[in-house]
């Protein structure tokens, strides 16, 4: 009985912290694990790699032994996603399956496993907010709500002009520069694809970044805190100011 009471209390506490999440199973993938035909995502729509990307495909396949073409499935899906403006239609997955000579279901399995493969439409600039603990305690929840309020969308929804969408991401390794967002830039196809971190953001700064993207500019990546250099502390280093002292070594010239 005590256990039941404890679980109820835990549920209440959880609810108090995050009233929005009603999800019982955490699914990071934006799309369902089965395909529903829509006018721009159907199996019979033709899709193939562009001529430039065919070269890239050959180059990617050369990394793997010729009898293990299947190993190239992840890089090829990534390339297909970049080419198609940030998401993978079913026909793209079928095309990748043909290239690596496996049944399409094997490619579907890989694409549904990884949440970075978007199987539903995303914006040209896909904004991903890190939501893991170090960023969270530094205010990533505020960053996310600022973005969602500014763009007027819900999570994983695309804005009406098709330019922006906001998603949550796992830790991307910039805990020293928390909170941070990353912007996957699909506006120039696979040639102009960039994936840049914008770290040390504040709710105001993140809105400025979004507006800069809307105007077509490319704000400088990395830490948005002018007083920091990469992951160094504000105001400059307090240690490691000079050359490191070499370790003591015996006199090598003697005898």
């Amino acid at each position: 009985m005590l256990r039941r009471l404890a679980t109820q209390r835990l549920a209440q506490i959880r609810h108090a912290f995050n009233p929005n999440s009603q999800t019982t199973s955490r699914c990071f993938s934006t799309a369902l694990n089965y395909h529903i035909d829509t006018p721009d995502n159907k199996t019979d729509l033709p899709w193939e790699f562009s001529a430039k990307n065919q070269e890239k495909v050959k180059e990617i396949l050369s990394h793997y032994p010729s009898n293990y073409k299947q190993s190239a499935v992840i890089p090829l899906l990534d390339l297909a996603q970049q080419q198609h403006g940030g998401w993978l239609p079913v026909s793209a997955m079928n095309a990748v399956a043909k290239v690596i000579e496996v049944a399409p279901i094997r490619v579907y399995e890989v694409a549904t496993f990884y949440s970075m493969f978007n199987r539903a439409k995303v914006g040209k600039y896909h904004l991903l907010v890190c939501g893991t603990t170090p960023c969270m305690i530094r205010g990533s929840r505020d960053i996310e709500s600022a973005l969602l309020k500014h763009l007027g969308v819900k999570r994983n929804e695309v804005t009406k002009d098709g330019l922006f969408s906001v998603g949550e991401m796992e830790c991307m390794g910039s805990c020293v520069n928390a909170p941070m967002i990353t912007v996957a830039d699909y506006s120039n196809g696979s040639e102009g694809y960039t994936y840049n971190y914008y770290e040390d953001v504040t709710p105001q700064r993140v809105v400025e970044i979004v507006e800069a993207f809307r105007r077509g500019e490319k704000p400088p990546r990395g830490t948005q805190n002018a007083k920091r250099i990469n992951s160094g502390p504000e105001g400059g280093n307090t240690t490691l100011l000079g050359e490191p002292k070499p370790p003591s070594c015996r006199d090598l010239d003697a005898c």
């Binding site: 256990r3 039941r4 679980t7 019982t24 199973s25 955490r26 699914c27 993938s29 369902l32 694990n33 089965y34 395909h35 035909d37 199996t43 079913v90 496996v102 049944a103 399409p104 279901i105 094997r106 579907y108 399995e109 549904t112 496993f113």
Partner: protein
């Protein structure tokens, strides 16, 4: 099903035996020293011999390589390479499992098979761990038990409480194993996840919320059925088994996932909500929808056949049956002939009594000349009825009896000329296959599965001559007609060198060739290829014929060979015993046709008299499959209406016609059969062929240029029972490969 026994065994052995004390009776108490000596002197009885369990058989390919492991203290010798789970099975200990299946690859994802191995820091998944020499495996320790309880708790966490509405209840692995190995309570208080149901077709019902993600169906579809349709999508607790895009399971072996699925996620759609498994009586029988003779168990409740499930037979069908076998049973309930009928003068049938019907037929018998009498045995006829038909017609002076499908100019002289000489299990030893005019995927799905198994295991090469076919293994399409065969025989084709260098080449000729006019020429070319490739040797006969019907092999063994080829044109009395696919166009309009069968299929349209007979599920009949294995069906349900068994009808007719046949019981018929073909009494045994084609005289016919045709155009509707079945009609509409 075996896991039910597993449950009782586990409950039995869980009682600690140390609590049982021997009670010493009073006289020994007085003589205390003698009593103590008597108790301690008697040596403990040796432990009972452990027999392998779970269908495990040990086969030492290299007896010197045997290693010894200890299972619960019991030493057991196993060949090198066996897994811990297999070693425990040999030792007689059944380990619970969900994802492991002896005929599929090892997945190791359910973790139910965890056992404790000495010197291992954690319990090991016995299905995946190879057994090393000297390993001490313990399956009944607290660690193993706790592991099983924990895994069971995890599996039940997201499993819906569907037992009352789930078809798998009563034969569910999850139910049985949670009773035997699970704990009595769970600690899960969250919301359970639910999954959208997928549409896999009219045969397999999916309730994917019940799925425990064991991936048996995925591995079956990929490995055994050869269609890569199913996969595991997503990850973690949101994993779903599905086809991702809306795709129906069109494989002809798709019904086997129903048996394989340990829970009620994949069940039989036609059987949904019809019966519980404990209500059903199982009758071991044989399937007659094709020539494979798969072993089945007909589950019936009262007079109705509720479902058909496979039986294990390593040599023929392993554990699989095709969809046609599995789902044809509802055809047994529709369009049945249940009363004798005579066509009146107005062309309509009237129901009459047996006496009247038989007397009308007998009268017609005597009004025609002997050479105008013709008898045709149908595809589903058993051997008893065929010998009775032949005897009756012989006594009336005619020898124009044949079986459907054996074509013109039938040659039953050499058994090797019409059987699968290497045997279905012998096909596994072949390394090169040449398929001539046969599409095994639709003609004999189980033989196709065996070929696929061989191709997968040993990378055997397959060459195929015939119309473009969709085989589920890599094959070379060598040509479409007899010219390709001539090329191979003369060595001009690159495939001929493959054949010559093969260790055990197998040539499979389809029985569709029997219907061609140049049949002898084709067979002589095939025999020439066989001679060149050293296909027929004392230790290996690779020249195989794949028959189409269940009755063909027995008919040829019993000598149902007509005297003349066009006897139908001049016939005035035709006796159709279940024969629906005979071409009666050339028959004169005043011929008297008797149809004796169990379904009102095509044969009745021309019939003058209908005699209702019993279907295969209602009679005890001997059938010979395409490899020559003699098996019998057993009656599972009573016949419909006034129908009788085929041979009994013929025996009664013979009495009324004045040419009484000398047998009155099944045994008497069988002893008559044994005078013609003695091997037909050796049930479940395969009589191998002895004389080969070298005895045949030279053939001088010319081969025609016609390409080989598709013999079976609709896999789902090939005989009277399947044509009457609603499920087969649905499958044919939705699943037929375009």
């Amino acid at each position: 099903m075996t896991l039910g026994q597993l449950a009782s065994r586990a409950l039995r052995t869980s009682r600690p035996s140390s609590l049982i004390r021997t009670i010493i009776s009073t006289p020994d108490l007085n003589t205390s020293s003698a009593g103590a000596a008597a108790v301690s002197d008697a040596p403990p009885p040796p432990p009972p011999d452990r027999t392998p369990v779970g269908g495990a058989r040990v086969h030492f390919t290299n007896p010197d390589d045997a290693i010894e492991v200890f299972v619960d203290g019991f030493p057991v010798k196993i060949p090198k390479g066996m897994t811990v789970l297999q070693a425990c099975e040999v030792a007689g200990v059944d380990i619970p499992r969900f994802c492991y299946h002896s005929r599929l690859s090892i997945a190791g994802n359910c973790r139910m098979c965890l056992v404790e191995v000495e010197k291992s820091p954690k319990p090991v998944a016995s299905c995946a761990m190879p057994a090393l020499p000297g390993m001490k495996i313990k399956t009944d320790t607290p660690i193993a038990k706790k592991a099983r309880e924990g895994v069971m708790e995890f599996l039940l966490m997201n499993h819906p409480l569907d037992c009352p509405i789930c078809d798998q209840g009563g034969e569910c692995d999850l139910q049985d194993q949670s009773m035997a190995f699970g704990s009595d309570r769970g600690r899960f208080t969250e919301m359970k996840r639910s999954v959208v149901d997928k549409n896999l077709g009219p045969l397999v019902k999916t309730v994917m919320t019940r799925c425990i993600q064991c991936t048996r169906c995925v591995r079956f579809a990929t490995e055994v059925a050869g269609v890569q349709d199913l996969g595991m999508l997503g990850r973690g607790s949101g994993e779903e088994i599905g086809t991702y895009v809306e795709k129906l399971m069109t494989s002809e072996l798709s019904g086997n996932v129903i048996d394989i699925c340990p829970v009620g996620a994949l069940t039989s759609k036609p059987f949904a909500f019809k019966a519980r498994n404990w209500e059903l009586k199982g009758t071991e029988s044989i399937d007659v929808t094709d020539a494979v003779g798969s072993n089945i168990r007909i589950d019936s409740r009262g007079p109705e056949v509720m479902r058909i499930v496979p039986r294990l037979n390593e040599d023929i069908n392993e554990e699989w049956i095709s969809d046609k076998t599995r789902f044809c049973y509802d055809g047994l309930k529709r369009q049945r002939l249940n009363d004798p009928m005579i066509r009146g003068a107005d062309g309509r049938f009237m129901t009459v009594s047996w006496r009247d019907a038989l007397s009308v037929v007998a009268e017609a018998f005597h009004q025609v000349k002997p050479k105008e009498i013709v008898g045709v045995a149908g595809k589903l006829s058993d051997a008893e009825s065929m010998i009775a038909l032949k005897d009756l017609l012989n006594r009336m002076g005619s020898n124009n009896v044949w079986c459907e499908g054996n074509g013109l100019n039938v040659n039953a002289d050499l058994r090797s000329g019409y059987l699968l000489n290497s045997g279905i299990s012998g096909l596994e030893n072949a390394d090169v296959f040449l398929l001539v005019g046969t599409q095994p995927r639709v003609e004999a799905a189980i033989v196709n599965a065996r070929i696929r198994k061989t191709v997968r295991a040993t990378q055997a090469k397959v060459g195929y001559v015939g119309p473009a076919a969709n085989l589920n293994y890599d094959h070379q399409h060598l040509g479409t007609g007899p010219e390709a065969l001539t090329e191979i025989a003369e060595g001009r084709h690159p495939f001929s060198s493959l054949l010559k260098n093969a260790k055990n080449p197998a040539i499979i000729v389809g029985a569709g060739i029997f219907e061609r006019k140049d049949k002898d020429a084709i067979f002589s070319v095939v025999e020439a290829i066989a001679k060149q490739g050293n296909v027929i040797r004392p230790d290996w006969n690779g020249l195989n014929i794949l028959l189409l019907n269940a009755a063909q092999a027995a008919a040829l063994d019993l000598g149902l060979v007509p005297e003349s080829d066009n006897s139908l044109e001049t016939a005035k009395f035709v006796y159709l015993m279940g024969a629906d696919d005979v071409n009666l166009e050339k028959l004169s309009s005043d011929a008297f046709v008797v149809y004796q069968g169990h379904h009102g299929d095509r044969g009745v349209y021309r019939a003058n008299v209908i005699l209702p007979a019993a279907a295969f599920s209602e009679k005890e009949g001997i059938y010979v499959n395409t490899e020559g294995c003699v098996q019998q069906t057993l009656p599972a349900v009573p016949t419909v209406g006034d129908a009788r068994e085929d041979w009994k009808i013929i025996r009664a007719l013979s009495e009324v016609a004045g040419v009484r046949l000398p047998y009155d019981s099944v045994d008497a018929v069988r002893s008559r059969m044994s005078t013609v073909a003695p091997h037909l009494l050796n049930l479940d045994e395969r009589e191998p062929t002895t004389f080969t084609a070298e005895l045949k005289p030279e053939c001088s016919e010319k081969m025609s240029k016609d390409p080989f045709a598709n013999v079976v155009d609709n896999f789902y509707m090939t005989d009277a029972i399947t044509r009457a079945s609603k499920i087969m009609a649905q499958c044919s509409a939705l699943l037929s490969k375009k």
